[in-house]
């Protein structure tokens, strides 16, 4: 306690503890969904730590990247574990962000006054997906190389700025060593900086505004609403769940390791069945199904425009869902959410079954 006192004298820890113990977390049937954001945060922390350890040995470059990852997993003590945890937690990170987003959506937590929290969360999801996209190429293996080629091709089909985007991503006309170096820079410097700042903002809003409850709960009389203190009750539960998630990651790392595969060869033909990462699969599968031309628009361009419009609508839900701001539920937006889940899940399953 001497240390606490020593620090407290200097930076007033008491007020922070007071804030944490005073902070109340609503208790109701949906309390469980509050943990998803916390798990996403935990996975991001895991990513940062394992990512820093990987940087110590990883060497970007077309002639060194694959070899250095191979060295990490085969020669460096516990290198395999660090790489597996990084890969698995990256996937779980995006999965939990998706789950967190949908629970927030159905709880109508985006309604006034939490619109900015929703906007920042949505951008964090996009950044997380870009984290995954840029990190996937770094081992410089065959699958990653061609998946990046296909992925950046799609970016190249965007009207007006497509060509610029493609060259910006690839650092040239083709996926090459220059692309790898660029992705590495984005993955370990640009994205962590932007993501951390935005995450800080997102968390600050959550702390300042407190936990949101669905409209039905909000409309209950005060005496019928239950709460638990954030610290230590909710924080202990959070920690408990984080430990379980860590154990699951360790289990996946040992029994379901990610294959390194063959080194990328720009001159080789693309292997059969090239697929993007699972979180891009629903878009990839949809683009595959769209005919070559829809009216007078090129099919791929039409698909990209549809996804852009859908993404924009999703982003602007707090603005569009007028009923939510009045503390009511809108059937239309409920069905939009259900449709989004069914569409994403259906297309993903379809994509993997063909």
């Amino acid at each position: 306690m001497k240390l606490y006192d020593w620090i407290n004298e200097r930076i007033d820890l008491d007020s922070a503890v007071k804030f944490a113990t005073k902070k109340q977390v609503p208790v109701f049937y949906g309390t469980v969904w509050y943990y998803l954001g916390g798990v996403s945060l935990f996975l991001f922390i895991v990513q940062v730590f394992t990512g820093i350890l990987l940087i110590l040995y990883y060497q970007p470059g077309a002639t060194t990247a694959f070899e250095s990852v191979k060295f990490i997993v085969s020669k460096v003590s516990f290198g395999w574990l660090i790489r597996e945890i990084h890969s698995w937690s990256a996937n779980l990170f995006i999965l939990f962000i998706f789950l967190h987003m949908f629970t927030v959506y159905f709880a109508k937590a985006y309604r006034k006054p939490r619109e900015i929290t929703w906007y920042s969360g949505f951008i964090l999801l996009l950044l997380a997906m870009f984290f995954g996209f840029s990190g996937y190429l770094l081992p410089w293996n065959e699958l990653a190389f061609f998946a990046t080629k296909v992925g950046s091709d799609i970016a190249g089909a965007v009207p007006i700025v497509g060509d610029f985007l493609l060259k910006l991503l690839r650092s040239g006309d083709e996926v090459s060593g220059a692309t790898l170096t660029r992705f590495y820079g984005i993955h370990v410097a640009v994205l962590p900086l932007v993501f951390t700042l935005l995450l800080g903002l997102h968390l600050m809003f959550v702390q300042l505004q407190g936990m949101s409850v669905p409209p039905e709960q909000e409309n209950l009389p005060h005496d019928k609403r239950k709460y638990m203190p954030f610290f230590p009750n909710f924080a202990t539960r959070d920690l408990l769940l984080w430990l379980i998630v860590l154990n699951v990651i360790a289990l996946l790392a040992v029994f379901f390791p990610w294959e390194l595969g063959q080194k990328a060869d720009a001159l080789a033909s693309a292997p059969a069945g090239i697929k993007p990462e699972w979180y891009f699969m629903f878009m990839f599968q949809t683009l595959k199904l769209i005919p070559a031309h829809v009216w007078f628009i090129e099919g791929e361009l039409f698909g990209i425009m549809m996804f852009a419009i859908a993404g924009l609508i999703w982003f602007l839900v707090p603005f569009l869902d007028k009923k939510a701001n009045q503390g009511k539920r809108s059937l239309f937006w409920k069905f939009v959410g259900i449709f989004a889940i069914v569409f994403i899940a259906g297309m993903t399953i379809w994509g993997y079954s063909v």
């Binding site: 574990l81 638990m228 230590p232 408990l240 860590l246 360790a250």
Partner: protein, 419 residues
């Protein structure tokens, strides 16, 4: 009536202009033969084929081979029969000399390629075909039988009758025909045997143009059946190590003494099958017992020993593959071990080749590197499996520690909430 006559005259004039315009003005042979071709079956049309012919493509025309006067117009006598150097359809016995006029002239042929050969005719006369033709036996192949008549393509053109993939089918046209081969004393089953052989399968089924066709063993223009001694040189062109090892073995002298063709004695000729290790298995295979029919102990023992060396190396490699696969399926990084497996497999091929020395010590020594490579793969894979075991144990310990903390936290939480 006057208008009708004028109309008919105009039509005739137009038709004759169209005919003249559609033919090559500079070559009367082509102009007439195009008209003659109209009444012929497709495969007999001279002009259809000649347009794609390599000679025509290089700028030669009918008169360059057949003589005559291509500028004589419609007069057949003036174009052909009254011209001294005119040669119509060429007699079979004159065919080699007919083509040889140009193809045996280095100065003339040099204009088409600096490396072009001009010994085809002279080689031909030394061939079995050429010798028989000299004896007025016309049941033999001449230039046109193999290369075609007016539709001759360069040998690297897949449409050519002598393009590598097409050679066996071209030779088959005569050599599998019982009527043509009736007086030759030769069998007619070579093609069928070749087709199912290791070489035929490679050429026809795998489309491997590196696989030998008839001409690779028998020669092209100087085609002859190989003699006892020349066989090892012919096979040794591709199978150099096997031929060299056999050359140094004690069996070579015995084969020559017993009048057994060197490679053919064990491997046959047109029906050469893919050799298997089982060929050395005395009890189940007749390869050795053709000559060693009395079950001589020494030969029997040697074959058995060689079989065991190869078989045990094979088993060792299979064990290595299984162990590496097992480690790989556990998700371990074992890509470097595949280099050892590749080395072991290369050595297995070398060991199989080394049996042509019929020297137990040499074969055993050759196989040593294969065992070393396979052992290295097994050791590496076992280390990977041990590492996997360590990871599993580590996971159990880690899970137990985490579970302990989870339980402690849970109990703490419960006691906290009960207060």
């Amino acid at each position: 009536m006057k208008h009708l006559i004028q109309l008919l005259f105009f039509i005739c004039l137009s038709v004759s202009w169209v005919i003249t315009a559609s033919s090559d003005d500079s070559d009367g042979c082509i102009a007439c033969h195009q008209i003659i071709d109209e009444d012929r079956d497709d495969d007999e049309k001279i002009m259809t084929h000649i347009m794609e012919d390599v000679h025509f493509q290089k700028g030669l025309s009918c008169s360059d081979c057949h003589g005559g006067n291509p500028n004589a117009g419609d007069d057949e006598d003036e174009a052909m029969w009254d011209v001294d150097d005119f040669v119509g359809a060429v007699d079979k016995k004159d065919q080699p000399r007919f083509c040889g006029k140009c193809h045996s002239d280095p100065e003339y042929m040099r204009q088409y390629s600096a490396h072009i050969k001009t010994d085809q005719e002279s080689q031909y006369w030394t061939s079995h075909h050429g010798q028989k033709l000299t004896e007025n036996d016309e049941h033999v192949a001449v230039c046109t039988d193999c290369h075609g008549v007016h539709g001759i393509y360069p040998i690297k053109d897949p449409r050519s009758l002598v393009y590598h993939m097409n050679v066996p089918t071209t030779c088959k046209r005569c050599h599998s025909d019982k009527d043509i081969m009736a007086n030759s004393g030769l069998p007619t089953d070579q093609f069928d045997k070749y087709k199912s052989s290791v070489h035929g399968t490679a050429l026809f089924d795998k489309k491997d143009i590196g696989a030998p066709a008839c001409n690779d063993c028998h020669g092209n223009h100087g085609a002859m059946p190989p003699t006892i001694l020349s066989i090892s040189d012919i096979c040794g062109t591709c199978h150099a190590n096997n031929a060299e090892l056999f050359k140094g073995s004690h069996l070579r002298e015995i084969f020559i003494k017993e009048n057994i063709k060197l490679c053919e004695g064990c491997h046959n000729h047109h029906d050469i099958l893919k050799p298997t290790d089982e060929a050395l298995n005395w009890s189940e295979n007749e390869t050795c017992s053709h000559c060693h029919s009395d079950g001589q102990d020494k030969a029997n023992r040697l074959a058995g020993t060689l079989f065991n060396i190869i078989d045990s190396l094979n088993n060792k490699i299979e064990e290595a593959i299984e162990t590496v696969d097992l480690a790989e399926n556990k998700g371990m990084e074992v890509s470097e071990l595949f280099f050892s497996l590749e080395d072991a497999h290369k050595n297995l091929i070398q060991t199989r080749t080394s049996i042509h020395s019929f020297n137990e010590e040499f074969v055993r020594k050759t196989s040593e590197d294969g065992y070393k490579a396979a052992d290295a793969a097994i050791i590496g894979a076992e280390q990977a499996l041990t590492e996997f075991g360590f990871r599993k144990k580590g996971l159990i310990v880690f899970s137990l520690i985490l579970t302990f903390f989870v339980i402690v936290l849970y109990l703490k939480l419960k006691s906290m909430e009960n207060k």
